[in-house]
Structure formats: C-alpha cells, structure tokens
C-alpha cells in the first residue's frame, strides 16, 4: 500500500473514532446532567468536544489525499441517489456540521439544554449513518473479501472500541487540565470521570471480544468462500500474518492495560497513581491495532475480474 492509499485508513479510522467518541461523550452527558450543574457539565464536555471536532477535521482533510483532484471532491455529492460514496460524504459533512455547531455553542455558552441535547442525538444518528455508508462502499461483488456484513460490523466495532478508548484518554487528560486550573468542583467531577472510566473500560473490554470474534468470522468466511477469497486468506495468514497477530496482540494489551488501570485505580482504588500515562498508552495501543486492522483490510483484498 503506497502512501496515497494510507489516506483511507486515516479518514475511516479517525472518522469512526470521532463518531464513537462523540456518542460516548453524549451518552455520558445525558447520564450525568441531572447530577451536575450546567457550568460543571460544560466544563466536563467542552474540551473533549473540541478535540473530537479537531479529529473530524483532520479526518476530512486526510480523506482528500487519496483523491487525484481533491479540489473537485464536493462534486461527489451529486450522485446521492445512486452512490454510497456520495451518501458517505453528505453524512460525514452533516456530522461534522453538528459537532462543529455544538463545539461553537459550547465555547460561546449559548443554546438551551433541550436544543443542545437534541442536536447531539441528531449528530450521533448522522454519524451512524455516515459509518454505515462508509462500510457500504466496500460491499462490492468484485471484492470478495470485503463483500460481507462483517465489514459493516467491523466499522461499527472500530467506532465503539476506539471511541471508548479515546474518550477515556480525553476525559482523564481533561480532568487533569481542570485540576491544574482549579476550576469548579473537582470532587464531583472526579467522581463522574471515575464512573465514566469504569463504563468505558467495560465497553472496550466487551468490544475487544467482538473484534476478535469478527476476525475469526472473517477467516472462516474467506475460507468457506473459496476462489479469490482464498488468495486474500493466504495473504492474511501468510505474508501479513505477523501484522495480523500484532494487531490482535496490541488490542489485547491495550484494552487489558486500560481495564487493569481502571480496576486497580478507580474501582478498587488500591493505588492512586496518575492515570494519564497508562490510559494514554492503552489508547495508543488500541489505535495502532485498529489502524493495523484497517491496513490489513485494504492490503488483503483481491479484486475479482479485470
């Protein structure tokens, strides 16, 4: 895979991570808004929202690098009725618009609570649609290794797993930032973050096994498909086997590290070390695993026919 093709893993993984993280953040917001005052709630989600917005921007910019004529990319939306690519672009832009609007409203402290809440849920729905359209692009009869529902599930699993991990890291860093600035009620906020970390670690742990299961199903699917799919399978278990093992390994270590950190420091509270670095490294490992997975997704496909 040459450098230009790396634009696709950049776009898809970052976009899925941003949408998954946004969903996690909004669910957290909905869960704690009755417990926190509006100002505290804003402090909890403002920085994470800005980081997610930046991630979406980077993803959208990155997507243009695999185009031969990036300046004409907007023309792709003209085929909305017939093209999943057009739909992906439209929903991506809409998701971006929602996250950008929410970030702006959050920074300027404007917007009523019901409106903000509804807008966030709309953003999640648009993001989910964008991921679905993103995955549907690859369901092509000529691409045997891609043309399976596992592709859709894989994209969603990436969104949930990476979104959970990213949000855990962002919440910990944001908490530390607010502690340094001594802003608001740190005790209440720390309680919310601890609870959120427990939930996020649990979700990541569950999704880890979903990802492992999807990989197993992928191998079984390729093996049963025969023909061109067999070549993809040989690539996966042959040339790219070290990377495939490495992917699963870093996912396991990354999620395991987060779970261990949360269990010992948050749940049981047997130690009180700084959570920033372990959560950060765990997130980095999972991200490497997911990008490797996306690389293998693109690298092992074999086109059928001319």
């Amino acid at each position: 895979m040459n450098l230009r093709e790396w634009a696709l893993p950049v776009y898809t993984v970052l976009m899925q991570m941003a949408i998954g993280g946004f969903a996690a953040l909004w669910i957290l917001r909905a869960a704690v808004k009755v417990r926190l005052e509006r100002a505290e709630l804003d402090r909890l989600i403002q920085n994470p929202l800005i980081i997610l917005f930046t991630t979406v921007v980077v993803a959208m910019i990155g997507s243009h690098f695999h185009l031969s004529r990036p300046y004409l990319s907007f023309l792709a939306i003209l085929n909305f009725r017939s093209s999943w690519l057009s739909r992906e672009i439209v929903f991506t832009v809409l998701t971006f618009s929602v996250i950008a609007s929410l970030s702006l409203l959050q920074v300027t402290h404007r917007g009523r609570e019901p409106f903000l809440s509804a807008l966030g849920w709309v953003g999640i729905a648009l993001g989910s649609a964008a991921i679905y359209c993103m995955s549907r692009i690859y369901l092509l009869p000529t691409q045997v290794s891609w043309n399976t529902p596992i592709t859709v599930y894989t994209f969603y699993s990436t969104a949930v797993l990476l979104g959970s991990m990213a949000m855990a890291a962002i919440l910990v860093i944001n908490q530390k930032f607010l502690e340094i600035h001594k802003v608001g009620d740190a005790t209440v906020r720390a309680g919310v973050v601890r609870q959120a970390l427990c939930w996020l670690a649990g979700i990541a742990f569950g999704m880890l096994w979903v990802v492992v299961a999807l990989n197993v199903f992928m191998v079984l699917s390729l093996r049963s498909a025969g023909g061109i799919a067999q070549i993809s399978l040989e690539l996966l278990l042959g040339l790219y086997q070290p990377l495939w093992i490495l992917r699963l390994l870093v996912l396991l270590v990354g999620v395991g590290w987060l779970v261990e950190t949360v269990v010992t420091n948050v749940w049981k509270r047997t130690t009180s070390r700084d959570l920033t670095m372990p959560v950060y490294i765990a997130c980095l490992l999972v991200m490497i695993g997911e990008i490797l997975g996306r690389f293998l997704f693109y690298a092992t496909h074999v086109k059928m026919g001319i």
Partner: protein
Amino acid sequence: MMIYFFTGLCFSGLGLAAYLQLHHGGDLPLRKQLPWLAAFGLTCGAASWIDMFLASGAPQSLAGSLAILRAAMQALSGLLLLKFGWGILDNLTPLPAWTIFIPGVLIVPIAYAITYASTTFITPSPIEIPVDIWSRYFLYLPGSILAGTGFLREWNIERKKGYTDVANLMMGAGLAFLFEAFVVGLVVPAAPYGPASYYNYNRVASNAFIADQSSPVMTSMLTAWLDYAEVLKTTGLPIEFWRMISAFAVTFFVVRGLDVFDATQNRQFRALQVERDQAQEAAFQAQIVARQTAESWTDALVSISRQIAALENVDDILQCIVQMARCLLGADFIGLAILNEEHSVLEIKCYADNQQTVMVSPPVAVVNPLILGVVSSSHEYLTRGDEAPEMLEHVTLTCDKAASSMAVVPLNLESHPFGALWMARCEPLPFSETDAIWLECMADQVVIAIQHGLMTAQLQSLSIVEERGRIARDMHDGLAQVLGYLNLQLQTLDALFKQGKLTSFQSELEQMRQAIQVANADVRENILSLRTTLSNEKSLVSALGEYFAEFGVQTGLDVAFINDVEGNINLSSVAEVQLVCILQEALTNVRKHAHASHIRVLISKQDEDIVMEISDDGIGFVMHAAKLSFGLQTMRERAQSAGGEFEVHSIPDQGTQIECRFPCLKPEKLSQHSLALS
C-alpha cells in the same frame, strides 16, 4: 573503519564520563539523567564498534549475528537517548497547563507512524534495514531533538544565572545534539518507502507516494545544499564522518559542561561560605550592639531609679530622663509636656536637644496636633512618612529644620493621660517600633518619678504634721506642765517669803530646780530625737549607735551598744524607721521611769530575724500592771506594723528587758529593695 572506531571512542568516552559523574551532587537538571546518558553512550559506542568489525570484514559466520546485535544495540541506544532527552526536558521549568493536551494530540500521528513503520517490515529485505531506519526516525531523531532542546533551555537558564561558561557549553551541547538529530536521525539507508525513499545516504530516491518503484534518479525536492548527495559531492566526506563529528561534539560539550559546572558550583559554594561567614560576623556584631544597647538602657533605667529612690529633685530627674533618652535613641530633640492644673493646656516641662537640656520656664504651650492628639487619645503615635508637613511643625523648639519623623507616647497616671513624651529627628531617618517601645519605658520612668515626687511631698507633709503633734504633746505633757508647776511654785515661794519661812522657801526652791532639770532633759531628748534621722549616707547601726551615745552623754547613764551582726542589716525601710522609734521610746521610758544606772542595747541576728534587746538595771515593774501602759502598747503596734514582734520582761527591782524582732528581707526582695533604694 577508523571513523567507526573514533565514533565508538567518543560515545564510550561520553558514557564513561557520565558514569563517573553519577555520584556528584548538584542541581543541574542533567545530573538526574546521567544514568541514561551513560547507558546511551556505552550502547552507542558498542554499536559503532560493531560497525567497525563489520566494516573490517568479519567472518561470514559472525556477520549475521553481529548485524542483528548491532541493530538491537542501535535501537536500544536510541531508546536510551529518547529517555534521556525526555528526562532533561521534563526536569526543566514546568510547562504550561495546556501542554498536557499535546500527548492527546500526538497520539494520532504517533499511532499512524508506528503502524506505517510496522507494515514496512513485511518486505523481502533484511530486517536490520527497517530496524535501522525506524530506530533513527522514532528514537534518535526525537531523542536528539529533545536533548538538544533541553540543553538549549539549560543554556538559557544558566545564562540568566550569570554562569556564562556553563551556558556556552550547554548551548554547544544543544547544537551538537541538533546536528546529531540531522546526521544520525534523519539521514537513513535507502528504502522503498517514505520518508527513507526521499532522503537517504544511498543517493537513491523513489516516489513512495504513488508507487513502490525505486529510481536511481534524484528527484529530491529538498534544498540543494541540504541534500546529502550535494553535501557528499562538495565535501567528499561520507555520512559516517559527520556522525563521528556529531559524536565528538556531543561528547566534548557535555563532558566539558559537567566539569565546568562542577567548577562553577565549587566557586559558588565558596562564595556561599564567604557569605555565610560574613552573615555570621554581622549577626555577631548585631548581637554585641544589641547587648550594648540593652546594657546602656539598663544602666540608664537603674540610674534613674536610683535618683528617684534618693529623693532627688523631680525636675533634675526629668532632665536626666530626657537627656538619656535623647542620647540612647539618637533623636535630635526630646520633649516632655504636662497638662496644667486646669487640664486645659499642655505645657512643655523640659526638653533636650543636641546641645542642652533645659527646664522650660515660663511654660510654653504645645500646639502640635499630633502631640495633642496623643494626649487626648492616650495612644502612642509613630510617624509613617506620609504625614502632611504641617503635622510635623512645632515639634522641635530649637532645631532650625522641621522634623521629618517623630514618635509620641502618652504619660498616663492611673489610665488618665496627663502629658506626653516625644522625640523627633530632622534627618530623614524614621523611628522604629523598638524605638517607640524604649520611649514608652522612659515615659514610665517619668510617671514613676512624678508619682514618687508627689508621694514624697505628701509623706513629708504628713510627717511634719505628725511631728508637730508629737512635739505639741510632749510640750503639753512635759514643758507646759513644768512651767505651770513652776508658776505655782513661784506663788508658793512668794507666800513663804512673805511669811518669812526660809527653810520651807529653800526646800521649794530645790524642788523647782529639779523640775527645771527634768524639763531641760526632756527638751534635750526631743532635740536629739528630731536630729536622729536615717539617710543613705549613714547605716542603721551607726545611726542607732550615735543616738545611743548622745543619749548617754545627755543623761549621764552608763550605756553599752553592742552590734553582733556581720555586714549590713537587711531590713525594710519601714522596719528600720520603726526600730529607731522603738529605741527612742524605750530609752525615754528608761530615763523617766526606770531609775537605772546602766543601759545595754544589743543588735543581733537570730535565724532570719534582726533582734534588738534593750535592758536596764532599773526598778522594773509588775508585768500585769504594764499591760495598760500607753507607751508599751505604742511600741508593740510599731513592731507589728512592720511585720515584727515586741516583748517586754520586767521584774520589780530587777530591771527591764525589751526584745524587738524584725524579719530580714529575702534575697530577691533585697535586690529589688536595693534597686528601689539605689
């Protein structure tokens, strides 16, 4: 081969020097990272020497293993360099709070870069090549940049501290690390993937952005002078040479920096020692000055107390107080003012300046608002420097200049202000809180002196009245009776003379003569009593002895005065006065009633008491009859009023013994008493 050898030598030297410096102290941030620097230097040196063996044509059987070992050593040394660079930067000044988001931002490019690097291992080429390339990109490049940045920040810090020599070496080390970042971290072997495909020392470039095709044609977009091929063409020196230069530069500047820092620190340590010695000397001198000041103040206060106790003239005492206060406080002017009898005007009583101490007469009214305010509020005042100029006018009576600072304290008698004591300076040197406290001490002495003067005057008035009463009583009981008797006798003599009874006339005349002798003795004794006083110049024993001897001369009795007390008699002043009075009373009684020929007075010390025994060989008296005696009762009351005891023993025809006992002063009370008296 020589280049590899010297490169290894430089790095090994760096590692060894860093290791040897491990046990030295110091606050250079580099110190804490020395273990990592030492490990980096040694591993990097080992990698270079492995290169040397490989370049010298190592046996084929060893070449493969050596190549893998070299790749491992290079990756390890890169990791150690990264740790060292991160550590040296992290130990410097804390970064702004927002920088904690940097790892969160970098996580995405780092994840992609690592993933991208991991995919490049899936190539037919030997694994050492991607290890070499990515260890340089991921470890050497950021490690060198971090270390270089850390040293440059250290340069800035040391430069601000004024350690120019250390700062210059830190800057050199920073630049050397940045140079190493370029030649070691950025110039890598050629590979069919970016960025190694664009910039490498194999002078091969391929466009990895569009395909994995290698091309011998240079298509680099970098500036020509930075291009490795251009550098090689111009200088003729391979990349290994530049790496050796960078290794030498890093080793030189870091090792020299450590040495110079040691020297600077030793210099600083010596300077601190000198400063400490100077501070100790200054503290010692300050202690001496403080002690001398305290002694001066103690001497002054003792002197004033002595004057007060000696019942010196109050005006003299006040002059002495203001004079001493001015000298001790270093003031240009000190004034003492007291409210007049109507409490309507505050009048200056006396003042002292640099030339004289003067009692002010006629009185001058004080008009300064600050002084008047202190008297009305009864609170001291210390100028802060922000007072209006008119507030400091009329403070000094004699100085030409206006006062620039002053302190005023009230004179309080039973919580009521009746005057003020103030000091002023014309030079711009403000008074301290301590100065104000000392001035308050002097104000207390002023109040004590005035109070003592008033009490002395009152006591003198009372004593005069009492003495007049006693003299009147004695004259009434003695001289007046005698004169009345003589008047009657004269009438009798006149009748006897007219009747011609010369024998009776002669007898009556004899009686008159005796009566006149008795009156004469009384008068003389009264005169003696009036003359006998206690004073500082004469001790109690000598006063008693002189009085007793004079009494013997006047009465013609045989007197004996015995003092068995060694040293001074430690009695309170009240007891001393009562002792003298009791002796006078007792001797009067002996003269009048005892018909004694010998009198003995013995002063002795029994236990903690001073005992005075007066015994005579007179006619004595019956004890129960004497209980109603007014004289004995008075003597007993005098003894008891001073905490003493009084006993009388008498048997008819066997004389009388009087014992009077007063407790001595305890040592601590004695010192206070002496101080008060002195």
